[in-house]
Amino acid sequence: MPTVNFIDKFGVESQIDCEVGGSLMTAAKRAGIKGIEAECGGTLSCATCHVYVDDARGMIPPASSSEDEMLEVVVAERKPESRLACQIAITDSLDGMVVRIPESQF
């Protein structure tokens, strides 16, 4: 089970063991990580599960064109490391990944 480090907007870190197979969004929500809304339930419709993946180093595939387009409406600053957590599948290669949660989702 890969461990992902979430850092919330106050800088508080949580290390979460994520079940392989789901998405980073569902893993975060199940673990009670705050600041990821995912209002559409992970269907690439709302852009409220915005996260910053600092140094993905090939851990995750790049954003699809649809994800890239939806990142357009994120409320916090869009950065090169911006991703939608619902589009990141949990695999063993995510172990040690650092995910920062933005200031706001709406």
Binding site: K29, G32, G41, G42, T43, L44, S45, S66, E69, M70
Partner: protein, 422 residues
């Protein structure tokens, strides 16, 4: 009133009720929050019931937050239903007899599926509005080859697309002449109709179900007004929803197609608010009231109300509605309300599988429906929020660039240049 607000009682734990509790906790509200759930589950999301849940059956993915979230947030979850509101004593009464007092009461009671009455229905016509119904329906689907869907609205269309993916043959019956008639433009309707027809669905438009025929007790077919007979092992009804206003009515609150609220979401009692699918709020021109049943509306009204209760928002509630529907491989995203538009212009790319339809009223953009074009949808939300409007004569042209339009329109707004019909 706001200073005396120690006890907030929220009836209903769907997107509206949950989002309000969540927003209050996140804003460090120090009082007590009672969230009346009414169902034997943790608060959960309803939109996936007809979409993702039907395909994967993972009901644990539907919960907004785990149990600990409510405990640490000081949110009292009441797994009971409320049977009465006593406005004089500011108390609600649960079915169990428990009396819960409030300083502020919020009705987030949502909607229920309209029940149909057809001769031959032995109580086994399926509905898809709450988790228990979805669990039961999903279980039944494993023994079903043919489904008749009554109602070609969002629920019926989404369910049909999911059933087809399970190799179930689907027939859809509707009084209207095209799917999702009240909510989307003609071209969008036709696209989704054609997609389901290609996948093998039979539509019966301008027709209605008049009987259910059985053999040895089991559903065999649905008889239609036109005389057609639709073979089916299971009947799903998705003919629409009605707002849950019984409590409000019984408490003497003003209701008219929903619980009537003002532009600050206050009902006819200043200590009672209504948000989400059940709330009828004033239109921007103030001439009428409307109810919007969507996640966006529920969540935005919830967050607005949290800010307002905490004294952080004095403005009226105003948001551009947006909406989505997933039907098999096709994604529909809507910004604004197509039902407000009088004329439509469509931009196409590829071979018709991706397009956006721009709705205009008196020359101004009021809605954008995007089919498999999330980029257009994202820009449309920003464009409508800014109140700028691309020229309807140009928006459909192949060389029109929506992004350049938006960037130019917003920079003109910022610099105060009078805009602008790009």
């Amino acid at each position: 009133m706001m200073n005396a607000m120690r006890n907030v009682v929220i009836i209903g734990a769907g997107h509206a009720g949950f989002s309000l509790a969540n927003a209050l906790v996140e804003s460090s509200f120090g009082g007590r929050i009672v969230l009346v759930n009414g169902e034997d589950h943790l608060p959960y999301q309803r939109p996936p019931l007809s979409k993702k849940y039907m395909s994967d059956g993972k009901h644990e993915d539907l919960f907004f937050q785990p149990k600990e979230f409510f405990e640490t947030g000081n949110i009292v979850l009441v797994p009971d239903s409320i049977i009465a509101i006593e406005r004089d004593s500011q108390t609600v009464i649960a079915k169990s007899g428990e009396r819960i007092s409030y300083d502020v009461l919020v009705l987030a009671t949502g909607t229920s599926a309209i029940r149909i009455s057809i001769p031959g229905d032995d109580g086994d016509v399926a509905y898809l509005d709450i988790l228990n119904a979805a669990i039961g329906l999903r279980r039944r689907l494993s023994n079903v080859r043919r489904v008749a869907v009554i109602g070609a609205g969002f629920i019926g269309m989404e369910f049909a697309a999911g059933a087809i993916a399970k190799s179930i043959s689907v027939s859809i019956v509707d009084n209207a002449s095209r799917p999702m008639e009240r909510s989307v433009s003609q071209g969008v309707s036709m696209h989704f109709r054609d997609e389901l027809v290609k996948a093998g669905t039979t539509f019966y438009f301008q027709d209605s179900a008049v009987s259910i025929r059985r053999s040895n007790g089991k559903i065999e077919s649905v008889g239609l007004k036109s005389g057609a007979e639709v073979p089916a092992d299971l009947v799903l009804s998705g003919v629409g929803t009605k707002p849950n206003v019984e409590l409000a009515l019984q408490a003497g609150l003003l209701c008219s197609n929903g619980v009537v609220v003002d532009e600050r979401l206050v009902t006819s009692d200043p200590n009672i608010f209504a948000i989400g699918d059940c709330a009828a709020f004033p239109t921007a021109d103030g001439k009428s009231h409307r109810r919007i049943t969507s996640v966006q509306n529920a969540s935005d009204q919830a967050r607005y109300l949290a800010r307002r209760l905490l004294g952080r928002d004095k403005n009226p509630y105003r948001k551009i509605p947006w909406f989505w529907s997933d039907q098999g491989p096709n994604k529909l995203q809507i910004a604004g309300l197509p039902s407000d538009a009088h004329s439509f212009v469509t931009r196409r790319s590829d071979v018709g599988k991706k397009f956006s339809t721009f709705g205009y009223r008196e020359g101004r953009l009021v809605s954008v429906e995007s089919v498999n074009r999330p980029g257009d949808h994202a820009l449309a939300r920003k464009i409508l929020e800014q109140g700028v409007s691309p020229d309807p004569g140009k928006v459909g042209l192949a060389d029109f660039d929506l992004r350049s339009f938006f960037e130019m329109a917003s920079s003109c707004r910022e610099t105060g240049v009078q805009a602008l019909n790009a």
